[in-house]
Amino acid sequence: MPVDIYWRIAMEGDAPALRLGDITRGGFGPHRPGALAPGADDGYGPLDYMAEVARATERAGFVGGLMPSFPETDDPWAAAASLAGETSAYRFMIAFQPGFLHPVQAARMSASLQAATGGRVVYNIISGGGGPQQLWWGDRVDHDDRYARTSEFLDVLKGVWNGPYDHDGRFYTVEGGALPPELRGQPFPEVYFSGSSPAAIAAAGRHADYYLSWLEPFDALAEKFAQVRAHSDTPPKFAVRVDVLARETEDEAWDEIRRGWARASDRASGGTESVGWKRGRSFTEGAGSSYRDLEVQPNVWGGFDRLRPGPLFGLVGDYHQVAERLDELVRLGVDAFILAGVPHLEEARRVGRHVLPLLKGRLS
């Protein structure tokens, strides 16, 4: 069975190096000397840089890119629809919450994008998060209810996709919903389903093609996969979101972390209220204050959240070590990866050239 390897695309701008942190490429921040693609100044804006990343990602051997969605980022639908014509094979993994769009509108947008791209849309459906951030989005539905909504949302979306469809439910009412003739028959996007709470795991069993988790210590990850399997009649495939910092030598890789840590260790971590984030934090509770104390098992480092906003765990090591850890994850049952590195452009090229060719998969 082939393994699909994606590469994240930054929706909030990019930094020149993980150890530097400052967003200087196509971001939201103030202009700095050396900034690339700020927009007005050079007529070369955020989307032009993203197009470069997408093209580099496609050339480097990845199947596509995860386009994340947070209050501080640009929007994945806007980016995917704007970039549809820039690549030929790149799959657009669009992160969204069912509360953002009505399912009929989501069906229309998705089918239109499928038509424009030849079927390259993938969903990353997020239901959880919560707390103040959820009200920032204008979403009043409670955490556990949001999984019920996600289920109903996907039912309606699929119903309309294969319409005509009538529905009278708790969250949505549709009468005679259907796609227009020239949008019918498009492949339904693959569903990557995120969420670490019990409600998420239960819903994933019903709707996910892939259950997507952030990287965790491998034992914890295996346990999580087992839980999802136990909750599903037909278990989904598994995907992991993994930051990688791979260099020719291990020392070089850790030196990047060391320098980044020296700059960032006093900064607040970019945490959220999600169950996944709290769970990730628990694996390094009681660890010492040195950056190396967060290496919970060889090459698995839990301090990435201090260097950039996002997940805690990633892989640090030389090209062979990183490839070996990815192979271990494949043997653990991982069917797809979403890898990431900063800057997204050069690191996509590096990982494509030096790490992906070393992978052995289930044969290793």
């Binding site: 103030p30 639908w77 629809a81 704007s82 009505h102 229309r108 947008m109 309606v156 005679g176 227009p180």
Partner: protein, 271 residues
């Protein structure tokens, strides 16, 4: 200054078969000719393209993003209903389009939709409540657009401590287009519209003060007659025209090369 917008196609054109003996290297068609229409409008100096909501066609927002990416100067107006998303998400998504595409997006909020079409798209609201919802939608969208710490609890939408991140790339709030001649429609326009679109025969005097009057017209291909028609409207204060073409790409060029010069000449700008 008169502004002319051409309506982009939302459905694929009928396929044209080539004779068997003619080598055919055409790539597979991927939907409507919206991008070619946008490029024609840009090349010809039209003011913009309208991508309408067409229940039988491709999604307007997806088409509009592609037109924006293919052009640098024209405005792109996307028609949608306040039932398809939340004002926060509409603002979020549109702010990105504004950042990506030099602030050229406009919104046409469709309020008075056919009830059967609305229900098929999950919208069961009817009557004046639709105007109340549109008002709330535009109010909240502007609120979160303007900055941090915005809260509002409405009948249809809510937001707590919202507000889009600052952007150093200009991202002006989309120009707002509205339409309709009912008192509710005109009151909504008075509060929110930059452009109010009339049907042929509607009285331009209905358009609220401070709002640009537009008329949506069919173009049948006769440039002289069409220019005359536009000038008549101009004399009554109409400054924007939304043109439904018979053949979008060809008509965009026709409007540019044969209609716009006739308007300029009348205004004494032709040198």
């Amino acid at each position: 200054m008169t502004r002319v917008h051409v309506v982009a196609p939302t459905r694929a054109p009928a396929p044209v078969a080539l004779p068997d003996f003619v080598t055919d290297v055409r790539p597979p068609a991927r939907g409507p000719e919206h991008r070619a229409t946008g490029r024609a409008a840009e090349l010809g100096g039209l003011s913009g393209v309208l991508v309408p909501f067409d229940p039988g066609g491709h999604d307007a927002l997806v088409l509009a993003a592609a037109v924006l990416r293919d052009t640098r100067r024209i405005g792109v107006t996307v028609e949608f209903s306040a039932a398809v998303t939340t004002p926060v998400y509409a603002a979020k998504l549109s702010a990105s389009l504004q950042r990506y595409h030099a602030g050229r997006l406009a919104w046409w909020l469709a309020v008075d939709q056919d009830p059967a079409v609305a229900r098929a798209h999950g919208d069961v609201l009817t009557g004046p409540a639709r105007y109340e919802r549109a008002d709330e939608f535009l109010t909240i969208a502007r609120g979160v657009w303007a900055g941090r710490g915005y809260s509002r609890e409405g009948a249809h939408f809510a937001v707590l401590d919202g507000g889009l991140p600052d952007s150093r790339v200009d991202r002006p709030f989309p120009r707002v287009w509205l339409s309709g001649t009912s008192p509710d429609a005109l009151a909504l326009s008075a509060r929110h519209a930059d452009v109010h679109v009339l049907a042929p025969g509607d009285d331009p005097a209905l358009v609220p003060d401070g709002v640009a009057a537009a008329v949506r017209l069919r173009f049948a291909g006769d440039a002289d007659a069409f220019a005359d028609q536009l000038r008549t409207y101009e004399a009554h204060g109409v400054t924007e025209f939304v043109v439904d073409p018979a053949d979008p790409v060809a008509d965009a060029y026709r409007l540019a090369e044969h209609v716009l010069p006739r308007l300029a000449k009348e205004a004494g700008n032709a040198g």
